[in-house]
């Protein structure tokens, strides 16, 4: 309920575990990939998503309905978690859910840039972060990107955005702004953790390890993409601090050669878990398959932790990751079916553990 008092992981764990059991399983996905968008919507109506489907069913249809229902359901569950959690647990969950503040800020920037109507922007928001309705409302109604940057003064994004805005004004592309937002989010993930006194083997230490893995994977992903496309962009601009795998300044030299980069990842502590993905990356040259492998590895690791340390933040984190995955999976299925991808092609895009 608030960040004061002591943590209540037992309570949060019990509730989260029960909700985890309600997530879609492999056989649900197997059914979903063979359905049309209308059928998917009907299927979702009989599950977890009933309330959202009924609420939004009159206003939207098809893929939009599915997508908005997914977003709203996600926001509902994550808000619930913040409501249950107390003390340090609350602070850690809130820190992670700033991800949706980043999402909302980016949505607003993109929307205003492309001249979308405030209503449309607002319906794309995921109301799960720290931003309150008033701020979101003014973000959606902002007349210019400068106004959005000003509105975000006083949030964690303030610092990075100001620099990025100057760059945006020179080049008028959105990339620097979006990068600044993502970077700020990841670099503030570990804010409430005192790294000096942290015991590596305590549940909290393991939680930090998951977050570091997430940062590392994000860096790996960026580095591989940059390396593959062979652009002139400076990899250091995309580097996110806080991980274990790369040091500042190291990326520039690694991105130059794709093979060296893959070798470096193979020799790292993640090498074993990612070996299957790496082999595929080398043989099939498919980046997206490797990126799915990264997601699956993170999911599996957090899942293992939530079983070995149930009375800690780990189970909440693993639920957040799993729920996010579910939303992305269902969205991929719905979008894929809409544009007429084959069942096999869609299945390749899914991350199921």
């Amino acid at each position: 309920m608030s960040a004061t008092g002591s943590s209540n992981p037992e309570y949060v764990n019990a509730r989260v575990r029960s909700r985890r059991a309600a997530l879609f399983k492999e056989e649900d996905y197997r059914k979903l990939v063979r359905m049309g968008t209308g059928e998917i919507a009907r299927y979702m109506e009989e599950t977890e998503y009933e309330a959202e489907m009924n609420d939004l069913g009159a206003r939207y249809s098809g893929v939009d309905l599915i997508e908005f229902a997914l977003n709203r359901n996600l926001a509902k569950h994550f808000e619930d978690m913040l409501e249950w959690a107390d003390g340090e647990l609350h602070a850690l969950i809130a820190n992670y859910l700033r991800k949706f503040d980043a999402w909302n800020a980016k949505t607003a920037i993109r929307g205003v840039y492309s001249g979308t109507s405030p209503d449309d922007i607002e319906s794309d928001f995921i109301r799960a972060g720290e931003f309150d309705d008033q701020l979101l409302n003014s973000l959606a109604n902002a007349g210019s990107i400068e106004e959005i940057v000003e509105l975000l003064d006083g949030t964690i994004f303030e610092e990075g955005l100001e620099l990025a805005f100057e760059e945006f004004e020179e080049q008028s592309v959105l990339v620097p702004l979006e990068n600044a937002i993502d970077k700020t989010f990841y670099e503030h993930l570990l804010d409430d953790v005192n790294m000096v006194t942290l015991n590596q083997y305590s549940p909290k230490g393991l939680y930090v390890e998951v977050l570091q893995a997430e940062i590392d994977f994000r860096n790996i992903r960026n580095a591989l993409r940059l390396s593959r496309t062979g652009t002139e962009l400076d990899p250091e601009e995309y580097y996110i601090d806080g991980g274990k795998l790369f040091k500042e300044g190291q990326l520039r030299q690694l991105v130059g050669s794709f093979d060296d980069l893959v070798e470096y990842i193979r020799d790292s502590s993640y090498g074993e878990e990612l070996s299957a993905g790496l082999a595929e990356l080398e043989s099939a040259q498919s980046l997206s398959a490797f990126e799915q492998a990264l997601d699956a590895a993170l999911l599996e690791y957090s899942d293992t932790l939530s079983h070995s340390h149930p009375v800690s933040i780990c189970s909440a984190l693993s639920y957040i990751l799993a729920k996010e995955r579910e939303i992305e999976n269902v969205r991929a299925i719905a979008r894929g079916r809409e544009v007429g991808l084959s069942v096999e092609e869609i299945e390749e895009e899914l991350v199921v553990i």
Binding site: N8, E10, Y11, N13, A14, R15, S18, V311
Partner: protein, 79 residues
């Protein structure tokens, strides 16, 4: 000051058996409470999600009661 001290000394320099049993029961009660704190909050969480969990939640919450029941035996041993 001297009189209570002599009472203690006359009973062999330690606590009376009844007092020791009382402390044992008290500590066991604290331990039960501590164990039930965690189990209880988890049980309430589970029941809030799905009321079918009420029965198992109650059973698990009651399990630490065994601690205090066993400690209760000490009273009869010394009594």
């Amino acid at each position: 000051m001297i009189e209570p001290l002599s009472v203690v000394l006359s009973t062999g320099g330690g606590l009376a058996p009844q007092s020791a049993a009382a402390i044992a029961v008290g500590l066991a009660a604290l331990a039960t409470g501590y164990a039930q704190r965690g189990i209880g909050s988890a049980a309430v969480g589970a029941v809030a999600e799905d009321s079918d969990n009420l029965v198992s939640g109650l059973i698990f919450t009651a399990i630490p009661e065994t601690l205090i029941i066993i400690a209760f035996v000490t009273i009869f041993i010394v009594g």
